[in-house]
């Protein structure tokens, strides 16, 4: 029997980049194929071609042995191909039903929407594939994990049987990721075939039937989880050996850099998100903030960096009060911020790499003289950063929006780390990054610490927190429920605290012997 999907010789060039270089790919019925590759390797490009968003320059697509031409998403949908995009394609102010039916609406009496019929279909789908969701909720009120279910239902509603998941776990908490894997297993059992993109090697080993690796636009190999391990996969991807573990000395904390006292912050819906939080971060130490997403970490970071007003409480940076100062004032005091949502808060996507790399300093010498921007200085600075931080971009004038996700993150890291800073706030700094980049960014963060910088690291990835932090603050429902030293921490103990179990009850799970560290990948 012919494979469900067969790509041969797919080639795609962007100005200055060969994004896909004669790629061949086969997908069999009922199989989960993991697509692995560095940031910018060309995975999303290949998938966008398959979904009709880009046109290939060369190559051929066959679905169940028949050649198809895919000029638009409509063609892809008709060929039974569906895609969950790296950045969700949902309309927040529409209900689940409206989002799902959009483009293939049920109508009656001419053009009138039959919302009930569609909602019934959705309930049916959500029942048979165990995708729990309420068709009448508004998407904006749903947590990310549920929004993703809506995306999956969208595909099933259109009866797609080739499902593409582009980095679905990047935005999920570990628990949500586990739920997603359950769903994926149900889907293949019912005869669907899945292409799955991720940077997390442990996910590849856990869920896939087969792995294909892309490097710099070309297919470099294929293997199965049985024959591979993390180390081997990492090497295939990067083309060199990778240290999966960060080497880091015991920290030597100095003076208090950040001091937060009884901080209360409200979220956009005016609900208390950070509730009477008190903690401090010293020079030369990394304080990790662990917690299930949505327990106030976002608002905490925003308050500390001046992006959100505090309701009450005080924040001091090196002895100076910074409560409710503007982000610029906080930045000028030596605070660096790697934001959680890089596209929304970290970059101006329609600006070139060069301009993005001076977003905090463009008005200072040497980048500006009076009202005059010094274009050549900005450009030189960018060239240096591109080299130092290994940013993969055709050149410094390319718009940041057309870089791959990982390279966008590197632009931010380069900008923030190249300034003289005393305090670093890093929110999910390695989200969506490949192993090579994670290794690199982790090393840089530890380096900053060793230079005497205080680091506040927020991440829902427990492995990352445990691996990097010297002390760990656990947040639950807006409160810091415990501050744990790194050698007492392990996944089980933190997991209990994050779920709201009191520190006394969780006591028994504390690490007493030598420290065990799993790698982030």
């Amino acid at each position: 029997m012919a494979p469900v999907l067969q790509l041969s010789g797919i080639t795609k060039r962007f100005p200055g980049v060969l994004a896909n270089d004669h790629i061949d790919l086969t997908l069999n019925e009922g199989e989960i194929l993991a697509l692995l590759g560095e940031n910018g390797a060309g995975k999303s490009t290949l998938m966008n071609i398959l979904y009709g968003l880009y046109q290939p320059d060369e190559g051929e697509i066959q679905v169940r042995g028949k050649k198809v031409t895919i000029h638009s998403p409509t063609d892809a949908i008709n060929a039974g191909i569906g895609m969950v995009h790296q950045h969700f394609m949902l309309i927040p102010v529409f209900t689940v039903t409206e989002n799902v039916m959009l483009g293939s609406e049920s109508v009656r009496g001419g053009d009138f929407l039959d919302r009930k019929k569609a909602a019934d279909r959705i309930r049916e789908i959500s029942e048979s594939y165990k995708l729990e969701v309420n068709p009448d909720s508004y998407v904006k009120d749903l947590p990310v994990g549920v929004q993703q279910r809506v995306e999956i239902i969208k595909l099933l509603y259109r009866e797609a049987n080739i499902l593409i998941f582009d980095e679905p776990t990047a935005v999920l908490t570990p628990q949500e990721a586990d739920e997603l894997f359950e769903i994926m297993r149900t889907l293949v059992k019912q005869g669907k075939s899945i292409i799955f993109i991720t940077h997390k090697l442990r996910e590849v080993l856990e869920i896939s039937d087969r792995v294909m690796v892309i490097r710099r636009g070309a297919m470099v190999g294929s293997t199965t989880p049985e024959k591979a391990d993390k180390q081997k996969l990492a090497e295939m991807m990067v083309g060199r050996s990778v240290h999966l573990e960060v080497e880091k000395a015991i920290s030597t904390p100095g003076d208090v850099v950040l001091q937060v006292q009884n901080l209360v912050v409200a979220d956009p819906k005016n609900q208390i998100a950070v509730d009477e939080v008190t903690f401090e971060v010293r020079a030369g130490e990394i304080l990790g903030v662990a917690g299930v997403q949505g327990n106030g970490q976002t608002e905490l970071v925003e308050a500390v960096t001046g992006l959100r007003a505090a309701v009450s409480g005080k924040i001091h940076l090196m002895g100076q009060e910074i409560t409710n100062l503007s982000p610029r004032q906080v930045t000028e005091l030596g605070c660096a911020h790697v934001p959680e949502d890089r596209q929304r808060d970290g970059l101006v996507l329609s600006f070139p790499v060069a301009d993005n790399s001076v977003l905090c300093t463009y008005y200072q010498t040497p980048y500006a003289k009076g009202l005059n921007m010094q274009a050549h200085v900005i450009l030189e600075n960018a060239h240096r950063l591109i080299k130092d931080f290994d940013i993969r971009t055709p050149n410094a004038q390319t718009n940041v929006g057309s870089l791959s996700g990982g390279n966008q993150q590197k632009v931010i890291i380069a900008r923030e780390f190249s300034r003289p800073i005393k305090f670093l706030v890093a929110s999910q700094p390695t989200r969506g990054l490949d192993v090579g980049s994670i290794e690199y960014i982790h090393r840089r963060i530890v380096e900053k610490r060793d230079e005497g910088c205080a680091v506040l690291l927020v991440s829902p990835e427990l492995d990352e927190i445990i691996e990097l932090s010297d002390r760990i603050a656990v947040m639950y429902r807006g409160k810091v429920v415990a501050v744990v030293s790194a050698d007492e921490a392990n996944k089980a103990y933190l997991g209990l605290l994050m779920a709201g179990v009191s520190p006394e009850q969780a006591e028994s799970a504390k690490t007493k012997g030598p420290r065990v560290v799993e790698t982030t990948f």
């Binding site: 979904y51 968003l53 880009y54 638009s72 998403p73 409509t74 949908i77 895609m83 995009h85 394609m89 949902l90 309309i91 927040p92 102010v93 529409f94 409206e98 039916m101 959009l102 483009g103 293939s104 609406e105 109508v107 053009d111 009138f112 929407l113 947590p143 990310v144 994990g145 549920v146 969208k154 908490t173 628990q175 949500e176 409200a266 979220d267 819906k269 005016n270 609900q271 208390i272 998100a273 509730d275 299930v292 997403q293 949505g294 327990n295 309701v311 639950y476 429902r477 807006g478």
Partner: protein, 422 residues
Amino acid sequence: MANAVLVRKLEGVSPTRQRWMGVVEIGMAVLILIFFTLKVQPGSTSTFNMTPGGITRGVAGDWVVPALGTLIFLTVVAFLLGVYQFVRGFGKWTNGVLGIIVAFFVFGFLVWASAGKSLNLSGMLSAAVLLGVPIILGAFSGVISERAGVVNIAIEGLMLMAAMVGALVGSVTQSIWWGLLGAIVSSVLLALVHGVLSIKYKINQIISGTVINIFSTGMTSYLSSKFMQTYQNLNNPPIFPRIPIPLLADIPIIGPLFFNTNIFVYLTFILLIVIQVALFSTRWGLRLRSVGEHPKAADTLGINVIRTRYVAVILSGVVAGIGGAFFTLGSVGRFDEMMTAGKGFIGLAAMIFGNWTPIGAFLAGLMFGFADSVATKLSILGTGIPTQFMAMAPYLTTMIVLAGLVGRGQVPAADGEPYTKE
């Protein structure tokens, strides 16, 4: 689980805003007291006529209220509401209460102005409806286009052009229908220019709209002064007659206001229903709104973003054309330079105030129309307030409403953003 249930919630309105509202409301109560309550003669009455002049169907008797008693009541209630707002706050009813107090203020003003005299309230309301029609149509035009993501500030220009072309074609053909058609066609053509500039060439939509407004002003002024003022038979179109609707026209108070008037008022009602239903209950409307919210998502589901936007802009032009025709074919029967006088812009304010919904835009438009009519009527009645100040009333209302009442509206997320397919 993933979404932790959070424990506490702050009041829906921030404390500063609550206090401010309280101060403003108490201030309005004091204004009512100083300017109206303390100024009327004890024992005088205000008489409101409840039938517009010249109407014989749906006649209602006069409404007589004791001036001082009514004003004292208004002052006290407004004051108490203000104090409560200051001390405790009305939470999510804050805006509603402010609305009530503004209404009290307006009513207090009317009672004071007509103390010892009589005022044709019904006539004023019926003028309000007619003054509201172009505002509402302008707002509808904006709703259609902005829901699809195209900001349309050219509505003023579209209406002005339509008003002139309607008068011209109506005069030449001596037919109201040809006139109306001419008005619509001219408005649609201009709307298409806006569409091409902002959708195809991705020019900043505010600039493209402004260009069209300037073009319209210049073009209509030139043609009007060059031809229409010199050759009077080019500026003498027939006008749409008053058409009473059987039975409904005989209802007292409401009948004369809404059911014994000209076709533009009926059209406004029909459009209200049609647009409301089309936007929110049809496939067409769902797709149109999706394009205004998240064009890329719409695109990945096979919806033609560009075409949808063009259709919206054209329909927006049709509605603005009807609104423009109202000025010449629906009321005065001649074209004068700049006769739209900012109604298109006020229409956009009504659209924003009405939260981009047809029904909201309709109510807001009526409100602005009412402010306008109070201004005109009372400058005739002679209140001692300079007419220039009275003429400012509608615009002041617009500003107060936009600054004070409008909270976070539901702007279509991609409003004003050109769409580029990759």
